[in-house]
Structures are given as C-alpha cells and as structure tokens.
C-alpha cells in the first residue's frame, strides 16, 4: 500500500494550519507562540544580559543559549520532568541554527537566553520551537540578519510530504517513515540545521530539500506578518 493520500487529507507539500503570535510571556524581553496544527511551541527570550559565571563570558561577542523542553503532559505517555538527552541535543541544534542569524558582536560578555517549551506535541516540535524562538528573538529586538524558518519533510513509503505528524512519523508500510527536520536562513535559503531519521536515497533527499525550502518561504511570510501585527497593536 503506497502512501497516496495523507491521513489528514493535506496536499503533500502543504503544512498544517500555522498559528503564530508574539508577546505571550510579559516578563520576557521577547516571546512568541508558534503552532503547526496540534504541535504548539512557546519561546521566551531574556537578554542580552551579563553572563554569570564570569569564566563563561566571551569578551569578543555575546553568546546565545537555547533550552528546549517538552512539558510532561505534551505527549500520551508522560515525560518525566527535568533534563533529557533528547532535550539537550535539540537545545544545541536549535542554538546553532538561531546563532547563524543573530548578531551579538556588540554585546561582549553578555548572553541571550532563549527558552522553548512544548505544551502539546504532534511531531515536528523542534521545527515549531525554532520558528517560535526566531520570532521571540526578533520581538526582543536582538540584532538579526535574517529570520530562521524550520520545517520537517517526511517520506512515507516512497512519498515525500511536508510537515510530518506523529501518525505519519509512525508509518510502517513499504519503506516506512523517514523524517528530515531542516532550518533555513529565510532570505538566502542557506541551510542552518538538518537532522534525518530513516532511510532515503540521494535523489529523494534532494527533492526533500526543495520541498522544505518552498515550505519555508511560506512560513517566512507568516512570521513577517506576525511581527508586523505587534507594531499595529502598540
């Protein structure tokens, strides 16, 4: 049985409904919510502020610190609260991705903290997290050369699809499921993050990147619209 029709009826190159909003955490210098359908991420930014302990400071430039965490009740089987290997890795890859957009040269010895939380998960949480974080950084007024947009491309059996759900991630028939999470510098299209789980040939992977890049352009438009809305509200 080939994967000819998506479980939720979407087109193969279509993301789930995207919701985005900035200013969700009043205490933070910048914050945002970003959702792909049932996958929801919130992000808050604090800083630039002086980094403690002092030995961690970089006298040449400010540093970016990202922490990603899923809430215990965001998935069916409760996650034990506290740090996990998965969370640690996702935090770091998100940090690398976002760091390629932020310009912290003018903030030596400072840190910008980005906190990402996932209250509700239906796959592609890291992509939603990175999109929320990118919005939150912009909302905080952190100097950036571009926004980061992130999206997952999956392969169910032989079919490539954009923005994978949990049900698709668990697809077992034929060649099974492959999941490629990727993030781009929105304007230049440079790839700043990629992770792949599964099996895919080079031709398909090239095609997957094209699909991801096309989807990222649409997400970028939504991010820009979201940021414009705050100016109107103020």
């Amino acid at each position: 049985m080939a994967y000819t029709k998506r479980f939720d009826g979407r087109k193969f190159d279509e993301t789930r409904e995207i919701k985005a909003k900035v200013g969700v955490v009043p205490n933070a210098d910048g914050s945002a919510m970003f959702a792909f359908g049932d996958t929801v991420a919130i992000a808050a930014v604090y800083g630039p502020k002086q980094l403690h302990p002092q030995h961690m400071q970089n006298p040449r430039k400010g540093i970016l610190r990202v922490n990603y965490q899923m809430m215990s009740f965001s998935v069916s089987d409760r996650i034990r609260p506290g740090p996990s290997k998965r969370g640690t890795e996702i935090s770091k890859i998100s940090e690398w991705a976002l760091d390629s957009a932020t310009m912290l040269d003018d903030f030596p010895n400072n840190v910008v903290d980005v906190h990402i939380m996932i209250p509700q998960a239906d796959a592609s949480t890291r992509c939603a997290g990175i999109n929320a974080a990118s919005l939150a950084l912009a909302h905080a007024g952190v100097p950036m050369k571009d926004l980061i947009t992130s999206v997952s491309v999956g392969k169910m059996d032989k079919q490539l699809v954009v923005d994978v759900t949990k049900k698709e991630e668990d697809y077992e028939e034929g060649e099974g499921a492959t999941d490629v999470a990727m993030s781009f510098l929105s304007q230049s299209g440079k790839l700043v993050h990629v992770q792949l789980d599964g099996k895919i040939n080079t031709k398909e992977l090239k095609e997957a990147f094209k699909m991801g890049r096309e989807a990222s352009k649409k997400i970028y438009e939504i991010q820009k619209e979201t940021l414009k809305k705050i100016e109107k509200e103020n």
């Binding site: 955490v25 205490n27 933070a28 808050a44 809430m71 009740f73 609260p81 740090p83 906190h115 209250p119």
Partner: protein
C-alpha cells in the same frame, strides 16, 4: 539596582500601613482571574490560569501503577512543579530548587488532605493495579503569587480530566479509544490562600514586588464546610507571627473564601464547558 529594589519595597510597606496597594486593590483582593481548559490534547486534563500577569499551566496525566503497600485499594497522586526560566529571569535550569519543590509539595498536600480526589475509585485491581495521577504545573509568567495560581490551575486541570480507557485484555491504556469517564472527585474542593505579611499588614495575591517586600507567608488550604475547614498549612519564610496576627489571618481567609471560591468555581465551570464545546 539593589537600592532601587529597597526603595520600592519600603514604599510598598509604607502604603500597606495605610491599607493601600500600588495597583489600588484592597488587601484581600485578587487581580483579574482568567481560566482556559484544554491547552494540551495529549493530557488527560489541562488548564492555563492567569491572575493579573501571573500565568501557570497545569496538566494531568494518568498511568497504571502498583498501589502502595499501605493503601492497596487506592490510586496515587504525584504533583510536580517547575518554576521555569521562561517565566522569570530569576529561575535557572537544573535540578529543582527549594522553591519548585515547596510549591509542588504545597499543591500536593492541599489536594491530598482535602480528600478532593476519590482515590478508592481509582483502584483497578486491589493490591495489583491502580491509577496514578500526575499533576504537573509549569510557571509561564511569574508576577507573584505563583502558588495560589498553580493551585487553581491544578484544580481546573483535575476537573477537566477524563480517565483514559483501560484495556483489561492487554493490561495497558488504550489512547485510541475516547476517554469519557470524569476524574472521580468529591465535594471537598480545596482552595489555597497564601497570606503574605508585609510591613505589619497582611495581603493576598501579591505582585512580584509585593512578594519581595514581604517578610513571609502563611499558606493555608481550606475545604468548603460551614465554617470552612483547614486541611493543610505551612508557615514559609523566616518570620514570626504573634497569636493575634495568626487569628487575624484565619478570619481574613474565611472572609476571602466567601467571594473568591464561588467565583473561581464558576470560572472553571465555564472554561470546561468552552473546552468541551470546542472539541465537538
């Protein structure tokens, strides 16, 4: 910076001597409360509660567990709280610090001792298998009085919760079947008051500045009997209370409960109705 903080604290105490607060609230008055249920469809029940700018999210998850030896026919409860660095720059990552632990324990104690959850109905097979109820609370924006807000969020999430379907044949939870049965709850709905002593006065629902200006708090959970009954209490902070003050605090709580408790109950009812109609 530190001098500024002290000035604010001094001014807050000065105002309270005259029974006044910066935001013109009465000493026993809460900020505006809003409640939303159903923030995570993966949770058995969930809620977000805003009181002023303070916001807390809570979720209920249920799992199968062996009962404790001293209560073979009863389900278990576990409450954890996380004061997230997302909610305020004064919190850090890492193992839970005292504030998180105390908050989780105080919510746990208030709910447990009130008898709000009917644990006997959460027994699947005596001595073998029971439901374990996890209530996890996360601070999203801390602008003071996290504990009382977390408590309301926990209550709303419990009220919103449905027990998942237990597949007896397989001996595990079947998440594909829709959960219909509500969490077994009793009439002993607990309600928590953190009463802060600040410059000789006592206040409810402090903002973060008022909290920093206060000497300490007395945490009291009550159940709605006539007169109200106290089911858990803890004095928290390095300060002392004279007997009259202690009595004054208890009267203060009884008074506040009369208006606040029905108001919050109503807000929870409305939030659940709204979440359920959105689901359909």
């Amino acid at each position: 910076m530190i001098e500024n903080l002290n000035l604010t604290a001094d001014r807050i105490r000065e105002y309270l001597e005259k029974g006044k607060r910066f935001d013109s609230r009465k000493v026993g008055e809460f900020r505006d409360i809003s409640i939303e249920c159903g923030i995570s469809n993966k949770a058995e029940g969930s809620a977000k509660v805003k009181v002023g700018k303070t916001e807390v999210w809570a979720g209920v998850k249920m799992a199968l567990a062996e009962p404790y030896a001293d209560s073979p026919d009863k389900g278990n409860l576990m409450v954890s709280a996380e004061l997230t660095p997302l909610s305020n720059s004064r919190y850090e990552y890492g193992p839970p610090k005292f504030d998180s632990i105390e908050l989780g324990r105080l919510v746990d104690r208030g709910i447990r001792e009130s008898g709000y959850i009917d644990f006997e109905k959460l027994c699947i097979e005596k001595g073998e298998k029971v439901w374990q109820v996890f209530v996890d609370v996360y601070s999203i924006n801390d602008d003071g009085n996290l504990l009382d807000v977390a408590f309301i969020a926990a209550l709303a999430a419990l009220r919103h919760a449905k027990v998942p379907v237990y597949d007896k044949k397989e001996g595990k939870i079947d998440y594909d079947k829709p959960a219909k049965e509500s969490m077994p709850l009793t009439e002993n709905v607990p309600f928590n008051f953190s009463v802060y002593t600040c410059g000789g006065g006592i206040i409810l629902d402090p903002t973060i500045d008022e909290e920093s200006a206060s000497e300490g708090r007395l945490v009291v959970a009550v159940i709605p009997k006539k007169p109200i009954q106290i089911c858990s209490m803890q004095k928290s902070g390095e300060y002392s209370l004279v007997e009259e003050k202690f009595g004054e605090i208890l009267d203060f709580i009884e008074d506040a409960h009369k208006t606040l408790f029905p108001k919050v109950q109503k807000l929870i009812d409305e939030a659940i109705k709204k979440a359920e109609s959105a689901k359909k």
